[in-house]
Symmetry: C2
Amino acid sequence: MSSPAFSLSKRIRPTPFTPRVEAVGCKAYTSYNHMRLPTVFRTFEEDYWHLIEHVQLWDVSAERQVEVKGPDAAKLIQLMTPRDLSKAKFGQCFYAPLVDESGGMINDPIILKLGEEQFWLSVADSDVLLWAKGLATGYGFDVTVQEPDVSPFAIQGPKAEALVAKVLGEEIRKIRFFRFAEIDFKGHKMFMARSGWSKQGGFEIYLNDSSLGLDLWDTFWEAGQEFNVGPGCPNLIERIEGGLFSYGNDMGYEHNPFEAGLKKYTNLDADIEFLGRPALEKALNSGVERMLRGVKIEGDDCPACMKDWDLSGLSGEPAGAISSAAYSPRLKCGVAFAMVNKDFWDTGTEVTVHTSDGDRKGTVTDVPFI
Amino acid sequence: MSSPAFSLSKRIRPTPFTPRVEAVGCKAYTSYNHMRLPTVFRTFEEDYWHLIEHVQLWDVSAERQVEVKGPDAAKLIQLMTPRDLSKAKFGQCFYAPLVDESGGMINDPIILKLGEEQFWLSVADSDVLLWAKGLATGYGFDVTVQEPDVSPFAIQGPKAEALVAKVLGEEIRKIRFFRFAEIDFKGHKMFMARSGWSKQGGFEIYLNDSSLGLDLWDTFWEAGQEFNVGPGCPNLIERIEGGLFSYGNDMGYEHNPFEAGLKKYTNLDADIEFLGRPALEKALNSGVERMLRGVKIEGDDCPACMKDWDLSGLSGEPAGAISSAAYSPRLKCGVAFAMVNKDFWDTGTEVTVHTSDGDRKGTVTDVPFI
């Protein structure tokens, strides 16, 4: 059963863009933060080629924002992540692992500092709102934690900058990668970042009024005709090729940031207070035993990975587990992410991948693949 | 687009029963607590008639357990709910709203007291684990909060008791409604409650070892042949007829327990300490302005409700919103849940339902419908 139907209900929330997404042929959704996230419009491969050649509009409303606001906001945000945010400024985006006292990952949001007392966490698929609210309540922090009416809308692909400049003005070209600025859409102020869940370049507009969703979509759709604009969404093939890990698929609560390959966002040397510091120091000192790595898989196709596939060494020893996989049309082989045991994680190590379709030869490699 | 495909991935976790559920023809899933929850095997209506006439096996693993264990467990659990748990005993199940300081509902689990220092919360679709863990961390409580390897398996329908007695012994007939007891499945001890998300009667076995899932399914499947056993799942039609509200569909964080019709589980007179007491006292004193009610909808069919449908009085005044709807084959009309404004909530009040398929006549009514 590779493609069951999705029984939608109000609980799997529609977005401000849902009517347009459906009108232009969304074929499948996943659920993400209790919301509909499109996954395919034509086929994964057709969507993929269009994304790397043209420009796409993405309904990524499911990247919900958790707003933390108030005198203790900065303290609470720092408490949740080992990434040093002490020098954070308005206009910067920070990719940051969130961990609890044991060092296990709670989420890996992008953090936006909107002011000295106001932050947004643009979260992956777990209820960070409840985590932040629980901490705030227990510690008695003077903050409010809530989900604002904010729905990210991404413009992605090599022609994204040209399209966004056409709609919002040439000034936007000055926005650097992982920086955000205020834009004006028909008199409405919103934030826009040069970011997005692809490696093809582009922007994310933080739509802050659901009632403007269809107008935003239509404006970019019409202006995009000359650029061969199409509908799109985070693409399974492109995100694996590009080395973009997915919380809940490739790493989760059972992993610490070192295992998730996020050592550079784990600033143990900084003079900051965060949950899990002793646990992470201990983990680092005792040595990391497994890490997220790439695996190239031989074959003319590659099945989708719906649950862990075991990985073994050539003599059959346990070597780890594959979490995501796709066939790469550019590399002409399967590409996959795997949590790989230390003895097997060197680049070039040959392994056997026990896919749902039978065993295949694999080679451990660095990410990104391309 | 009434039935898009569901793009499954590891993030939408399979269950210990997934291979069997797929083998017997699961046609659609929803996502619930980051896990696959089957929604239909034949059609909603065929599944419905089978449920009310025979016995079904349900994979409700998605009702995840949040285990709170340790010296401060009872204090933390009580802090999370306005339901008085001071006299709770081993063997009792407690349906309980969870609220935060503002009185907004976080979830509505069934709470099982396993011991003086050990509780399970069998949760609806939100990450209560993060809420409980955040509170425990902030307050410095001496507890562990984790998700055990426990996957509920329900046997539901009028022949459920006969089937369960055949497999587990006649003793199980003594288990009263919303009580649980320890059972022995082939030498493995597990808990089983007389409970389940239907009004047709039955049991829920808290499978505590994933590796036994297929054996458990197969044992009941084989023993159930004489009872015309079939696969099933929480059924949209039956749960509305039976008055079973769904967190995230019919009520959510924006509602307090009074609005959700849960006043009897909100024990403001009890000498207990819980979050949100002042907010709930204030809400009660200032008067509840809207409440979850039933609405009968005229017509020979009824569309599914994917987002709020407005409800209006006969003169067009706003009267509330429908959250879930289905056609009742027994009542020969649409049955729906709605958050109804005070001026319209009396039984028999006529309203106009603005369905996704056009306007229909409706009548406010009590639940359950049957």
